[in-house]
Symmetry: D2
Subunit: 316 residues, 4 copies
């Protein structure tokens, strides 16, 4: 294989011969090998991501945002409405979640909606309301970018969120790699953990290594929940990568009454934080009202989480 910097080690069996490739195998195109008639199967032994790989970077990455740390020893809660609706709504919720112990304000300005006839978010005006709420409360803000063309408006956003549907929007990921700003990368609805890490690798390959991964449920055959929260992804990803990982229990189940239980499970399993939907009046929410907590329910949850955090010596 003169083209690649690899050595070949043959293992000869009676019915099959295995060729072991050693060296710079990351550059080897697995599909090309597989296309050869004499090749029956090609199996990759090492992971194809480098910068996100704990094997090459054993220490946990801690993402810092305005003196708040995400990762090792901290349990960071990002809370707020699914979509920004008005200044009054947003500031009210922001103050409430801050009082209960949230460290970040989340809220959607650009909203990916399945139906073109559904409310699509306030757009740039929504971003402005988020920034106002940030000034008033001091809470750093997290909000989703849906397209490259919106990025210029994100200068004052503290953490830029990439939604599940955009996890493999590679053009966007590359551009985010050029920034020096934390990125919250949500797992795609049917993305494997490896694909999530490859998406992180896209951003990291550009030099931006401040990435927070987010498990938000995967698509399965089970209709009783909106998605299936893959709780095992937390310990498995922790072993494979040094990046911090949070959980979104609101989208995972799509059931507001299950959020507290799932949040406790997330803390117990080792997650570094949460992203939770809170709305002052879920029944009037312009999106996803059925999965939002009221400020009261959020406050109850936070007091429970604080008891759990003590057990794990984590700051909340």
């Amino acid at each position: 294989m003169s083209k690649y910097d690899v050595k070949i080690n043959p293992i000869v069996g009676t019915e099959t011969t295995v060729l072991g490739l050693v060296g710079e195998t990351q550059s080897v195109d697995i599909h090309k090998l597989r296309s050869m008639d004499i090749v029956e199967k090609v199996i990759r032994v090492q992971e194809p991501y480098k910068k996100a790989n704990r094997a090459f970077h054993p220490q946990d990455t801690i993402v810092e945002v305005q003196n708040r740390k995400i990762g090792e020893g901290h349990f960071s809660v990002m809370a707020g409405p699914c979509s920004v609706e008005s200044e009054e709504q947003l500031t009210g919720i922001a103050k409430a979640v801050q009082a209960s112990g949230a460290a970040f304000l989340r809220g959607g300005a650009f909203k990916p909606r399945t139906s073109p006839y559904a409310f699509q978010g306030l757009g740039p005006a929504g971003l402005e309301l988020l920034i106002k709420a940030k000034i008033e409360t001091g809470l750093p803000i997290v909000t989703e970018v849906m397209d490259l063309s919106q990025l210029s408006a994100f200068d004052d956003v503290d953490i830029i969120q990439v939604g599940a549907r955009n996890m493999q929007n590679f053009t966007l990921l590359k551009e985010l790699g050029r920034l020096r700003k934390p990125i919250l990368l949500k797992r795609g609805m049917s993305a494997t953990m490896r694909e999530l890490l490859m998406a992180a690798e896209y951003i990291m390959a550009g030099g931006n290594e401040q990435i927070i991964l987010c498990e938000r449920g995967i698509r399965t055959f089970e209709p009783a929940t909106r998605n299936t929260l893959d709780i095992s992804a937390i310990p498995v990803l922790k072993r494979q990568t040094h990046l911090p990982i949070i959980v979104d229990p609101s989208h995972a189940a799509g059931l507001s009454w299950a959020v507290e239980a799932l949040s406790k499970a997330a803390l117990a399993v080792g997650a570094d934080g949460l992203m939770v939907e809170v709305h002052n009046d879920p029944q009037k929410a312009l999106c996803d009202g059925d999965q939002a907590l009221t400020p009261e329910a959020f406050d109850h949850m936070m007091s429970e989480l604080k008891r759990y955090a003590k057990l794990e010596n984590k700051n909340i």
Copy 2:
């Protein structure tokens, strides 16, 4: 619909007419209605299970086995080897898990194995070893029945387990309905929560209402874990049924190093207990060695779980 004891309520829209059926709709065959040309869709509004339904039985069911309670206020840990291998092995493990706080001894005598060439369990001899270990330690025993024909040998077994592959072995379920003995019913690999409850209903319809449900991971596209632990199933099932629910973190992930984290999550989310694989020498285990805890790791996990149980006011 003279044939059924239901009344029909029409709702007339401009493009569609909806017929609402009220009454004994459990006896209505949804497939039959759907087969009529003029019917486009049939949707069931109420759940088709009755005895397992919390709506008709609001109080939690508590299963009692030799003065040990499973359900409300208790966190019951069932631990032991995947398969019973020898008296020495089994008694050794039984004493170890008992010392760490397990309330039940689990162990497989009849083993469902994917390959006909793999170790198939000791069979009746395995059951005898379980009973010996029970006599020696006082731990009630839990073990799997794979077929009706084996049932006669289960007289001294305290809890009879129905494995995931048998969750819809209806002939077996009906027979178990005739017993008056606790049944541990594992969720099938691709069974919905509703199907799990219907399987419980099969047993309950026969009059045996001592059922413990067990979430053990479902099959999804994710290859990093053996199955995907559906942690949300615990709060969702708790709302739908009064039966106790435990979690099997060993089969769920198939990764021994993830079992402790997943067990803490199970307790935090509200499960009533665990079923965990423990082996004195996992590398020599005759089955599933990669998911078994050593007695030392199990002991560490139990001490962690006890701290968590206190937070929830549960006995372990």
Copy 3:
């Protein structure tokens, strides 16, 4: 590895060492290797089934039933009602499907139903009606066994069907391995192709090699169809095994109006036959009426399939 008859070939890389095992690897327990601390991953290169493997048995297996061949060069259609309801119903349907070109009569006597409150089949009386219909029409019969305890009543059944829910009922499979009678083995709802072949291997290990595989749809996230017909399984399985493979389009989609299109696709993709539900009055069918064809629709389908079969030089 003195315990196993294998040789070890090390491949040393800079970060990882791969050990290639050659020889009788079918006896090696992959889980045991994985449980060792120094082992990160274990990957099987060769398939773990032997008797079902085309690599060791290149020629197609042809299953013969009363001078009718299933396999190479034949497209065998098995048709009949979901469940046997009465002599009149069954004989009527049997004659109709025979006139249209079906080679086998299918019909359920023992019925696996999700709900204990649904019609459970006529049982032994249903088997008798099937045998009567066989005598009257000459059509060999195919019907499902749900449990070992029913087997004694299957003496006059020509092909014994193992349903999807029983694909991994290993006790049953072993018993069927002792028979010398064709077995129709349906793929489990969430069984991989490899698991299907391992289930066939269970029967073949007992000496019964007359197995017909049946693809009947797998469980996925898509709710528009009852299951997702995995049409690619036909060419993939054909490459891996020498056993004949048929398709059940009725259960796959659960939509009678889609059966003809799916049946044509099954023939075109290379399947060896079909198993189709036909009912004289689907709206009154005691089970699955929404997926049954009327005899008229079946006749139309058969005339279409005959045109397709000519293109592929297959007998119908």
Copy 4:
């Protein structure tokens, strides 16, 4: 419900009351209703898409491109390499597939690749090579846009492809709705048929109704194929929408030797065409070599398909 233009029809049962809503229910937010404490479940009876809905537009849509028709009565084959590599490669393949009967040339200039270290496509230079090949052969071209920012370079592209990963890139879909050019919309890896139709609705809501849907396999638990071709989606979608639907057998299975069989199944099941990968030298292909046909294999497949097309009275 004064806010919405709907009427409420109550159906009162003994345990549950069902409220039937009739009228402009497309504007009703299902999540909001579900968030009310007294509401247990909300079920939508009618489909939420309008313009893509066959109920409101019974006639098949035929997409015309340079006098070539896609839809009713035509079986359109789009063939070419996964990625454009060089003028020589592309023109060579274009002439070959044209000679065999392909009606469109496909080829990737912008390539979505899982790894940032893999070949990312030639970009604008690739588009130029496609246009050259179009001039030389007269074949209209189909190629993928990955991001809004690339759209300006697509003026001479005949059909713009939206890839599976971008099916819910709503910003992009809206922009494509402003064009008056055919869009090939691929189904997302884990998108339901309804979501696919909602994505089409996004484009159609903008006024562009020339949409071709493409089934390319969905993600399931089965590892033997790259994806699971959902062949039933063709008849089901045909019933729900008037838009033409083609199949991509190359991505569906990821196995070049299965492409011919799957293509015949696609024609037999009622698809309006195919999108197939062809490469002059698959072993040297810069991407996905293992799923590409050689020109010889493609020619063989086309001659088979022509025989099948005759049976269905379709032009190829």
